[in-house]
Symmetry: C2
């Protein structure tokens, strides 16, 4: 009797990973059951989620999505999550604004239309909430009880906040010399926050060691053993952009590159939408954006190489400062296949672009947003991106987290005594 009851319950509950059917190796294609692993047993290639997606009724699917919640779970039919995901506690990120940026378009000479996908509107103000939300649901399904990551900022806050809401223990590892503000953001959610005496590479190495040790049992490192699920969160950026454009593909997308995962998953998402018939199949170009001080993918693209030579990062765009980007080669493939490019800008151009975006559209981006907007400007100036085509540029984070980048050059116009004479004397009276 007891056994029968359990079977009935399992039959009634939705598939724990929705339309996802396996993990599949990106290098050799070998398939594995859905579990908390990230590397192919056969060839050590990275694993990604493979789906059996719904097909045959794109209009019905669009209606189903439109009737869903105003967050990433509206796309649950296309994600590795159960259909009842909305009943579980989660930060529910996503469905951030796609801002029509007419002022910025005018400044840059874009005539084909420009939109900013502004992911600073997420709960902890970066796109990391998307990837963590999916990783968290996988952790729940696998019965993991501690949510963890190595991070230098955005991810730490996203993991801490998501774990708090969902009732997970969290334990986040950071370099011990992180800026005080970022430490506060990571610690305020009440989880364990461990400073590691060393740099970000040391933190990563330690995390890999921890996950191989019995101590790590029950731990879900969102960007290690949950990475295949985590990465899928970035697909939702592709879905939202196309839905918010009225189920259309843009001509160009400008996307920042850290590990390169986000860019590859956005391409994956766009390809899915085409296959499902949710958007009309047409060419689109994907452009990758790096900071000059950490531009291994851009360098490889320009040199015509297929491999990415690691660098030691030195840039104010710390959220993009991964010197050995795991998905670099895939990014090169996508940029070349779609007819896009990979470009980089220096720190001064990043700061200028942050201010340009703020001044024209009232959006205060973190340094990563300065990188994408700066690269967009450079791509137009160098003739690599057609200003008569429709472009979407990503802002993946919030300027409040990287105030130091703009602080030295951003201050009061004037400081005066509280009198009209002083105001006039400062030359501020004319409009």
């Amino acid at each position: 009797m007891a056994v029968q009851t359990i079977v009935a319950a399992e039959t009634n509950s939705p598939a724990p990973f929705g339309p996802a059917v396996a993990l599949s190796c990106r290098e050799c294609g070998e398939r594995f059951p859905l579990s908390p692993v990230f590397a192919c047993e056969a060839c050590f290639g990275p694993l990604e989620v493979a789906y059996d997606l719904p097909s045959g009724d794109p209009e019905g699917l669009k209606k189903q999505i439109a009737a869903g919640p105003d967050n990433i779970w509206r796309y649950a039919p296309l994600l590795p999550v159960p259909a009842d995901v909305t009943t579980k506690p989660n930060l529910n990120p996503g469905f951030t604004k796609l801002v029509k940026a007419d002022n910025l378009a005018r400044e840059l000479g874009i005539t084909g239309g420009l939109h900013i996908k502004d992911d600073s509107g997420n709960p902890t103000h970066s796109f990391k909430d998307r990837v963590v939300a999916i990783a968290l649901e996988a952790a729940r399904t696998f019965g993991l009880t501690t949510l963890s990551c190595s991070s230098t900022g955005n991810l730490a806050g996203a993991v801490g906040a998501a774990a708090a809401r969902a009732g997970f223990r969290s334990c986040v590892f950071i370099p011990h010399d992180l800026e005080a503000g970022k430490v506060v953001m990571a610690a305020v959610y009440g989880g364990e926050l461990v400073g590691i005496e060393g740099n970000y590479d040391d933190v990563n190495r330690f995390c890999s060691e921890l996950i191989g040790d019995p101590i790590g049992e029950g731990w879900g490192f969102v960007n290690v053993n949950l990475r295949p699920y985590y990465g899928e969160g970035s697909k939702t950026l592709a879905y939202e952009i196309c839905e918010q454009l009225g189920w259309r593909l843009p001509d160009n997308l400008v996307i920042p590159i850290a590990s390169g995962s986000q860019l590859t998953k956005i391409d994956k998402g766009l390809q899915e939408l085409i296959k499902l018939g949710l958007v009309e199949d047409k060419p689109y170009k994907i452009y990758g954006a790096q900071a000059e001080g950490c531009s291994p993918v851009s360098a490889a693209f320009k040199a015509g190489h297929d491999v990415v030579r690691p660098v030691k990062p030195d840039t104010i765009a710390k959220s993009l400062a991964i010197g050995n980007p795991a998905d670099g080669p895939y990014v090169l493939d996508i940029a070349r296949r779609t007819g896009g490019a990979v470009e980089d800008v220096n720190d001064e151009q990043i700061v200028d672009a942050i201010k340009l975006l703020a001044r024209t559209e009232g959006i205060f981006a973190e340094t990563a947003g300065g990188v994408t907007v700066g690269v967009l400007r450079k791509l137009i100036e160098s003739g690599q991106l057609d200003p008569a085509a429709e472009t979407v540029v990503l802002n993946t984070g919030d300027g409040l987290k990287t105030l130091d980048a703009v602080a030295p050059t951003t201050g009061p116009t004037a400081t005066i005594r509280p009198t009209l004479d002083a105001f006039r004397a400062a030359g501020l009276a004319g409009s």
Copy 2:
């Protein structure tokens, strides 16, 4: 012919203030045409917007709202804006998350249901985007070309960003000794930012002088001559809360008090929804929340006074630090009429409440959110708020803007060398 053309154009364009018909004095009831004025000519009382609201078809109105955009403009039929407001450049704030806070409810012993209206999701991460959005549309209609305010933080950013998007000149006045971070936030949008040698009161006095001078011609001070329109933006919080609850009134609302305007306008919004038949008429209680270091309304409430005696603010909750709150007497009326209360918490309780909210719900609030959550806890403990009733508590801003408040008591759990032995020795291995 020219005249006919102009008349035809005027007839075809929507009413510039939508359903708003006049400014009306809150003290003597005298009515004035809709213009950029804020005080009654007869009695010097504050003016507010009076409406001829749509009536007779609540279900039709609900459908119209639901079909609107995911921002405050879905309520355009109830706001002093034209029906085509969505065609104009604006930051389009609002429709922020109403978070079901089961974890926090459990901690506080609330059994009747608890929601957090989390306005940190607005474009510049505070509720000020709502009020500025309406003021901006009024400025556009009146042909004003400079958007201005006096501010100590949130408002400066909201005005700067909104003006940038909408193509207005902006000129914002702040005390000269504001924290560097807040100065950056206010200045990054590229408008004029003027530091005034003096405190916030000196800034305010200077602004009043400026607006009375010919220099001030064409200037819209959102919180002075545009204040009647500006204030209406807070009504949208009432609309959203009730719509997100499924067109229902909550039993209790806990709202922060700075000038008191927000609280009075939320009450106005709830009354409108009842009159329009959008929600069922039932009792609700409104609770005001202050910081102990600036609690003139709470003091008056407790003493049974009708007048509010000004104080000199001394609290970490700087966004609520108005020592002489203009709407204080109206707040007292509303708290007493609805059976609510006004309560205050000290700085330590504010910090504890910020951390409690972060730890339970993954929401990092600014100090004003610490005030409302702290007051909610105190109201329950003192028996002033029924935990078996359904409560909505407001978070009006973002913790990233007031990091200093929690920084001294928020840091890493441990700092260790990158080895498993060090991890074990730190006592972190057990879950």
